[in-house]
Amino acid sequence: MQKDPSRIKVVVATDCGSTTTKAILIEFVDGVYRQTHRAEAPTTVEAPFADVTLGVANAVTELQELSGRRLVDDDGTILRRASLDAADGCDMYISTSSAGGGLQMMVAGVVKEMTAESAKRAALGAGAIVMDTIASNDRRRPHEQVQRIRELRPDMVLISGGTDGGDTKKVTELAELIAPAKPRPRFGGEYSLPIIFAGNRDARPAIERTFSTGGFDLKVVDNLRPTLEREHLGPARETIHDVFLEHVMAHAPGYDRLIAWADAPIMPTPGAVGDILQAIAKGRGINVVGVDIGGATTDVFSVFDGSFNRTVSANLGMSYSISNVCAEAGMESVLRWVHLDMDERELRNRVKNKMIRPTTIPQTHEALVFEQAVSREALRLAYVQHKAFATELKGVQQQRTVGDAFSQEESGRSLVSGMKLDLLVASGGVLSHAPRMEQTASMLIDAFEPEGFTELAKDSIFMMPHLGVLATVHERAAMEVFERDCLVMLGTCIAPAGTAVAGKPVMRWSARWEGGSAEGTLMAQEMRLLRIGERAQVEVTPERGFDVGGGPGVAVKREVRGGSVGLILDGRGRSLSVPGGAEGRRLVAAWAKALELYPD
């Protein structure tokens, strides 16, 4: 039963990760919700404990010790308050989970770029890892597809295909590939593999017949592409969440108890992050990109004009996948961000060491510079993949005029635009735990190349998953904590879009803030950092051919947010090009000095 939000004043939230269970305490203090304490303990989903609630209880016990508020009952469960005046216990307990590899799905659709892509978007948006996408045009022969299906061990399968009233033959053929292949689920020998069908409603009887052979638990939901012009992912995502709870979580050790403890459905961690970013984008009416760079994967989330997308770059990360980052980007691309003389052979050794000892952190200045260079490339590649995925719907009729004779753009344009981006949120070890905030801001700018005015922030303790679940039950509390405690504002970047020619001016600027002001001309390839405090009034007049959001050469005057770093003026133009060799090193050193990245 949904609790009355006015009676929720103390919230305990946990995120059960693969290695660590993180707990936070949110309390109503002086009329606003604040995150007051944080604790963590090792996750206990694996043997010998094989009970996730032990780790949760440990983390909450630490929270109890830090806060002085009793939160764990004598029987080891989360203690609830008897009344609003009670000093002990909490009003609500919520949790997310990515333990045991999170939610792993296989998706299938008729055409790879159409219904299969929508199915993939639904699965990723729900917080899943998509193991493979089967489509009738994926250029694999049926026996190869069957072989692949048999190899995978997904938690569930999402099938889509055909618009309502459209194709039934192809989507049934897909089902006829999956049913006899009998993919085995990850958990439980007697577990019926959940199949979610979100395709053409006319194909439902045939699909039901196909999966009636046993061993499957078929759930039929609304078509996620009722017409090619419309994507309707909500019902499929909700069913994925339900199945995640009913089947996947219920079969994971200790999760039945955890589900009983929680006052809101347990969500997959990335799904919860997506929810909070959507809530923020909707609440503030802005476009947001969020990134979470981990050891093995990098998640990118975006909300542009209300359209949410998430991608998981499975082979881009800072420890297990670091070798892949260097191989995919090329050592030359990584080294262009390094301003120090380094021996390439030594760097290669460093990469391999990081891969086999993933928990090590840089011990020297050189190691830190190199790790941050790798992170720039990992983030850049992940963002490129995200931009290619977050597109307009394909297969949609275009409306033209005679004026389009020489500019007939293809459909499926990327929704992600550097100029429309308002807020860039960073999380993940290399970004959150960088020794200096300036380094985090610099990595974000170099990798994402924001254009115009863009606010930069970081989620220092990865609180977004907790707030994502909280937003489903108490949006106000989630928003207040997000603004006050979750995000650490780094500052604002102003980057004119255009081609920067060395020695030529890019824009004239002036800024006024409490206790100071400055003005000047930003030259090409120049970066400047202004410590503006909380906020500043800024006026920028871009040169001809440069745009800061108002159009080429049009001046823009507005208030910008400062933060731990301040206001960064980026005169390097877009798209960003860093020359190699000595000239490149000189430039990168100058940018590092201008942004005070490595002052010692």
Binding site: E113, N137, G162, N200, G395, V402, Q408, S411
Partner: protein
């Protein structure tokens, strides 16, 4: 003109034409040789041709047919030949997706050429059973009779993708507007300048003039064809330069003062 026994092998008055022809051939041959040697020219993306996959995909998802109209002229028209080249690509994609392709034609020879082209595409894709000759059928030579059939077929079958590739006249707008009304993705290609604005306004993608003729080279990617394309472009650029030079010379001449005429001595009778 009556040629006498003393007439030479070459007509000196046509010598310039001979030089231009030789230069054109040399350019094209040189480009072909260069392409074969590995210097294959790069062609910019032609969105209309790239969208073939998308249009066929739409038809597959919607479970509806694809309509291909190869114009209303016979095989002696280069536009019809270019249209059949594109048909081959569309048929190959449709065979791979197992989508239905309808090709009504207005000339018997075009029907035969279209059938062979579609059958070859199906074989090449490894889907020989997909080919159905009954779907490529002759309608009528009559322009508006053909247009009326095509419009009726659109209204009845509601194809999800319509292709108009060939030579079109007044029926272009009838076809394209009907296709637009049923919500089909439409891709057109013609070199008929009078019909291009109609196609541009009512179709999703339009191959304009030279793009249409370049389709064969673009789709095949064969070095010979791409080299020919480059050779033709070089010749066209040279002709454009000569035209500009001529215009400049003529303009200069028009604005230059007339040279003062020499005084002529009057001769007493």
């Amino acid at each position: 003109m009556v040629l006498g026994a003393d007439a030479g092998f070459m007509n000196p008055e046509k010598m310039l034409l001979c030089v231009v022809l030789a230069a054109t051939c040399a350019c094209i041959l040189a480009s072909m040789v260069a392409a074969r040697a590995g210097r294959v020219p790069k062609i910019r993306r032609i969105t209309g041709l790239e969208a073939v996959e998308e249009a066929v995909g739409r038809a597959t998802e919607m479970g509806r047919p694809i309509l291909f109209v190869p114009g209303i002229q016979d095989m002696d028209n280069p536009m019809t030949v270019a249209g059949i080249t594109v048909l081959s690509r569309v048929a190959g994609t449709a065979a791979r997706y197992d989508a239905t392709l309808d090709v009504p034609v207005s000339r018997s020879l075009v029907m035969q050429a279209a059938r062979e082209s579609v059958q070859a595409a199906a074989l090449q894709t490894g889907q020989p059973d997909w080919y159905d000759p009954e779907r490529i059928r002759y309608i009528t030579d009559e322009q508006f009779g053909y247009a009326a059939y095509a419009a009726g077929a659109m209204a009845r079958d509601k194809p999800a993708a319509c292709f108009y590739m060939g030579c079109f006249f007044a029926e272009s707008l009838i076809l394209a507007e009907n296709g637009n009304a049923i919500g089909a993705i439409q891709i057109a290609g013609t070199a008929e300048t009078a019909q291009l604005p109609f196609f541009v306004a009512s179709c999703d993608y339009t191959l304009i003039g030279e793009e249409f003729f370049a389709a064969s080279a673009y789709l095949s990617g064969a070095p010979d064809q791409l080299g020919t394309l480059r050779g033709q472009d070089i010749v066209k650029a040279l002709i454009a330069l000569v035209l500009v030079f001529g215009v400049v010379m003529a303009t200069t001449d028009a604005f230059s003062p007339e040279p003062a005429s020499e005084p002529t001595a009057e001769v007493a009778p």
